[in-house]
Structure formats: structure tokens, C-alpha cells
Subunit: 346 residues, 2 copies
DNA sequence: CTGAAAGCGCTTACAG
DNA sequence: CTGAAAGCGCTTACAG
């Protein structure tokens, strides 16, 4: 079947033109007569001809392929993927398709040589990095990539002194909005669950938004209301239990991610506390599960559809050598039933 | 940076051997002296050399790449991916990595020419098809792939007269186990929610297991207890409301997928029915959400870890030209709180 | 607007 | 165990 795969020479022969002209015509070169272009395309279709990607990449030194590298904390169960990544994956896939790029996907270990694996081998023209993990562990890797001249974009926290091009949402604003919403509902003892340090800068930015909202509303910050957790349900569950053992009078939780929030809700229920009647909960991400948790989760949506598009387009600009900026993706507060709304009598 | 990418000639020069020998040494050919192999590898490492994938693919006519094509019903919201696919994706990714294969990923429309897109262009040596959708719509596509000699494997229902190589779980047994479990808890009015026809053969197989279990337990089949639904929460929600309007005395639901089950639970709650006290619910898949639904969902687990490995390894055998069989992946009943267990006093 | 020719960086017979 | 040579199927100067 594949033995007789047609080449551009076959088309040239049938069309009565040279192979060079076929090559140009297939890419709709303005140099080629419209008539010839149409003829070549017609014959190509008849023969089921497709440009050989390997030959094209080799000659043009351009793979028209991007690589998406996913990574998580090495401690996390590696059969699970953060649902937030899935949404990003869908969006990145579509953006690649619309730009004629193929997408390689891989789960990476911190120990691997990402540059070598993808750029040196010409498998991909650039990398998209996606992951939650300890930013401190991760930093040397980024430095190495930058030093190697790897073209990459990364989803993450924008700090102003970023290694490489970082595209992220407005974590601070999102944290502010979530907290302001809880304050507007009358809550005053609002916990923050999530590791708020430079190890998890996205969470830290959300925490800072949480602090700012309270300061602006004249609520004193009680540092004992912050409890560390990485982004999975287990961690959220355990952190909430620890928090409940430590503090009193809690009336709301702002969880640094939806996964943490879902664990928190389970923990609250396990202690006989009702959500939102006893404790309101707000998450972050708006993953698919958020709508189907019980109660449905109020959360801060990250626009994954836009994010994927921006990641891909920014990377393509970078590869082309254009000047590129790193836009910030806005967030949006999505109100559901995990906290009372003013007009919600429940 | 990439301008001076080293080639096998650079290594040859430094090592004082020919380029052919370098090429052999890099692939650890038994023809090459161990000493030479080691020398070549050492120099390659020093130079950060990586075999150029395009050149290698072009010459060897082998891309060492598989393509994963995902598709869903065109009607479904295309920003969502069935969580079951995510688990498969993780598993397939890992299996590819362990076999030295790159993985291209794409969301496909039924209208696209999958063979041309991947095999004719030498982007991939074979395809993995993953998707839920109407099997009848899908069939002409499979016939076309088979006719074109495309090497592909597919996750789906094994019917005995499959187009191409189909790997799937034991849907019938899974349906039987779920239903037998409900029967053992004393339920007698068990609904099946999911389209049970040749349009959705996996669901149909699960339905047949459901029927068989009841027959064996001497329970008469009431066809009005079956309600169509495709695999998403919306459909499950709506189907359950319709069912509740139509039939009386319902004491359990076997949903053809977890997404349907989650929609069903929402619907039951919206009618003031308690799960499992008023109506028990069992799902199918054991997606991640199942553990965090409220109540946690009893379901039939498909072993996605094994499935991904088997898909990849079967496809690689097919590409190599080996004789291949299509194994069936076993299922496992996972008991949680969405139906009473005999020793669960709740 | 088109063609002849070179060459991308490998792998693989072929010869020794 | 190693080397010289051909060639995978394109793209792209170069020449007209």
C-alpha cells in the first residue's frame, strides 16, 4: 500500500512540469501560474499525494511541530492529570490545528533534557510547558532551557522577572475577586488553603489578592487562617481537617484551586459542616468538575480557550523571530451554590 | 544557537572514524566494536548531539511516531473532553515514551482524511483512535481507513466482526457485575440510562449484561426502564428526569457511563430523591470525578493504565508486521457510597 | 513563470 | 569491524 506512495516527481511527470514547479505549486507560491497551481493540486488529489513531512522538515529545517510538555510534582500519583491541564490541552490542540502545526505531547520528568529531546533532534520547533509543581525545583530547568536558546512559552505566574516567556492569568485579581465576593456576603473569618510561598507563586499571587481584598475591606489579616496545600483533593482534604483543628469561627474558605476546594468540601462534610450554610467555599480554575461538585462550586475561571490560543500564537511568533509580549489572561468569578449569593435564600 | 547544530560528521571527525560508523555506533549496532561505541557516545554527549529526526525518518522511512486521534459527537461542546479520555491519554503517553515513540495528538472531525493526514505524509507510522460517538456515522470512516491499508488500533466495543483491530473492555461483564451488585442489595426496579442500540455498541453491550444479570436472578425485564442518553452529564440529567416522569417505583439506576451517572444524581436530587436511600446509582468508567461526586459513585472501572499500554503495544506489533490479537481488558466493580452495601448502615 | 541542480542529515546495502 | 557511496523526498538558491 505505502510502497507506491506518490512523490512530487510523479505529479511533475503527469503535469508535464518540473518537480520544482510542483513543489512551488503545492505551496501556492505566487511565482507559479494559477493554471499550473490548479493542475498540480488536481493531480495531487487524484494520486492521494501528501508532502512527505520528513523530507520537507529536513530540507526546510522547520518541523511545523510544537511539543507540549506536561509535568507535575513527582510525588503526585502519576496516573492522574490535573483536570485544568485537560482543558488547556483541548484548547492548545485546536490552536495548533488552526495554524497547521502538529502537536507532540509528552509527560516529562524534571531530570530529562527537554531541549535536547525536542529541539536538538528537530522534532519540534518550540516547546509549550504546562505544569504545576514546586517552582524552586523547576527554576534550574528553565535557566537551562533559556541558556540553550530553546524557544518556549510557559503557562504560569507572571512575576515581572520571568525566565522565558510566561503567559498566565491575573492570579492576583482572581484572588481579590474571590475574597471580595466572600466579604460581600458577610464572611469575616476567611481561610486561604494553598501553599502561599515562592515555591508556588501562582498560589502566592492568589493569596496576595486575598490579603488585599481584606485590607481594603478593613478586615484584619489573621495569618493562622492560611494553610499549606498542593493542588490535589487529598491535600485539600487534609489541609482543611488540620485547619479545623487549629482555628475557630471559620466561616469561609478560599481554596487556591478547585481540586483543593473539592477536598475541602469533603473534609467539611466529614466534620458535619454544611456548605455553604456553615462554611462557604470558593475555588480557582473552574475545572469541569466544579459544576458537578455538591454543592456546585463558586470559583474563579481561567479562560483556557483563550490561554491555549495565546500560548500557541506567542510561541509561533517567537519561532518566527518576531518581537513578542506575554499577555495576561483575565479571570472571571463564576458564582455557584458553594457560597450564598445575596439573593439566594437557601 | 541552532545554527551550529552538530551532525554525525562532526562526531566522526572527532572520533577519527567514518560517519557510517558513527551512525551505527549511535544505535549500538552489534557490528561496531564496543570501544568505538563508547567513544562515539561520549563525544555525542559532549557536543549535545541528537540524531536529526527528520533525516532519520526520511532515510529509514520510519517516523517512530504514533498519532492519537480523539473525536466526539459533533454535537457535544467542543471545549470539553470526556474525562475517560484523559486517563487514556496519560496511559498512552507513558506507553509511547517507554517504547521510544513520539506521540502526535489531534482532535479530529469525521470529515477529515485521517489516513492522508498522518500516514501518507509520514507524520506517523500508525494511528490510535479514541472516541465516543455514533458508531453508525463512524463506520464508513473505518472502512476507508481499512481500505487504505492504514495501520490503526481503536478503543471500543469488540463485536467479533470488527473493522480493524479493536481493543476494549469487557462491557458485557461490566454491565452484568454492576446489575448483579444492585440485585444483591435487593433492588428490583433497576433502570438503564444510556442509548442501547448499534449506534452505541459499548452501551449496548453493557445493557445486555444488565439484561442477563436480571434474567439470571429471575427478574422480569421491563423495557420501559431503559432510557436513551449519550455520554455527558446534560444527557444523563435530562434522561433521568424523563424517566422519573414516565415510570414509578424506581429503586436503582445503572448508568452507562459515569458522566451519565453524575447527571442522574443531580436529577434525582433536583426531584428531592436521596442517593442511595431512595435510588441507588451505579456508573461505568471510574473517571476521577467518580470518587468526588456526592455521594461517591459506585462504578465499573475500566483499567485505563493497562488499556493504553495494550493499545500502543498492539499498534507497534501491527506496524512491525507481526501477527496480532486484540485482547479484552477486564473490568472491576468499585463499590462506593452511591448504593448501599450490605454492611453499610447509612 | 519555470527548470536543473544542490543538498538537508541521516541509514543502509555493498565492499573490503 | 569499518568505510565510501548512494539516496530517502523534498526546498530553494541560481539561472534563464
Amino acid at each position: 500500500m505505502n510502497k507506491n506512495k506518490p512523490t512530487s516527481f510523479d505529479i511533475a511527470h503527469r503535469a508535464g512540469v518540473s518537480q520544482s514547479t510542483v513543489s512551488r505549486a503545492l505551496r501556492n507560491s505566487p511565482q507559479v501560474k494559477q493554471e499550473t497551481i490548479e493542475l498540480v493540486h488536481r493531480i495531487a488529489k487524484e494520486l492521494n499525494y501528501k508532502v512527505d513531512k520528513a523530507a520537507s522538515s529536513l530540507r526546510s529545517q522547520n518541523s511545523a511541530t510544537l511539543a507540549l510538555l506536561l509535568f507535575e510534582d513527582p510525588t503526585s500519583d502519576d496516573s492522574l492529570i490535573n483536570p485544568f491541564f485537560h482543558a488547556m490541552l483541548g484548547s492548545i490542540t485546536r490552536a495548533c490545528a488552526s495554524h497547521g502545526q502538529d502537536l507532540l505531547i509528552s509527560f516529562q520528568q524534571l531530570s530529562d533534557d527537554w531541549h535536547a529531546d525536542y529541539e536538538d533532534s528537530h522534532k519540534a520547533d518550540g516547546l509549550i510547558l504546562l505544569g504545576y509543581g514546586d517552582a524552586i525545583d523547576y527554576e534550574p530547568k528553565l535557566k537551562q532551557l533559556a541558556a540553550q536558546g530553546t524557544r518556549f512559552v510557559r503557562w504560569g505566574p507572571q512575576t515581572g522577572s520571568d525566565l522565558g516567556l510566561v503567559i498566565g492569568c491575573d492570579n492576583h485579581q482572581g484572588g481579590y475577586d474571590a475574597t471580595a465576593h466572600l466579604l460581600s456576603l458577610g464572611h469575616r473569618r476567611i481561610a486561604f488553603i494553598g501553599t502561599a510561598s515562592n515555591h508556588y507563586p501562582e498560589f502566592f499571587q492568589r493569596y496576595q489578592g486575598y490579603v488585599q481584598a481584606q485590607v481594603q475591606h478593613g478586615v484584619a489579616i489573621d495569618p493562622t487562617l492560611q494553610q499549606d496545600a498542593i493542588t490535589n483533593e487529598e491535600a485539600g482534604f487534609q489541609a482543611t481537617l488540620d485547619l479545623l483543628d487549629r482555628v475557630s469561627g471559620l466561616d469561609a474558605i478560599f481554596a487556591a484551586s478547585d481540586l483543593i476546594a473539592i477536598g475541602a468540601i469533603q473534609a467539611l462534610k466529614s466534620r458535619g459542616l454544611k456548605v455553604p450554610n456553615d462554611v462557604a467555599v470558593v475555588g480557582f480554575d473552574d475545572i469541569q468538575i466544579a459544576r458537578y461538585s455538591s454543592p456546585p462550586l463558586t470559583t474563579v475561571r481561567q479562560d483556557t480557550g483563550l490561554a491555549g490560543k495565546v500560548l500557541v500564537e506567542t510561541l509561533l511568533s517567537l519561532i518566527k523571530g518576531d518581537e513578542v509580549a506575554a499577555p495576561t489572561i483575565p479571570t472571571q468569578l463564576i458564582i455557584r451554590r458553594s457560597c450564598h449569593t445575596p439573593d439566594d435564600g437557601q
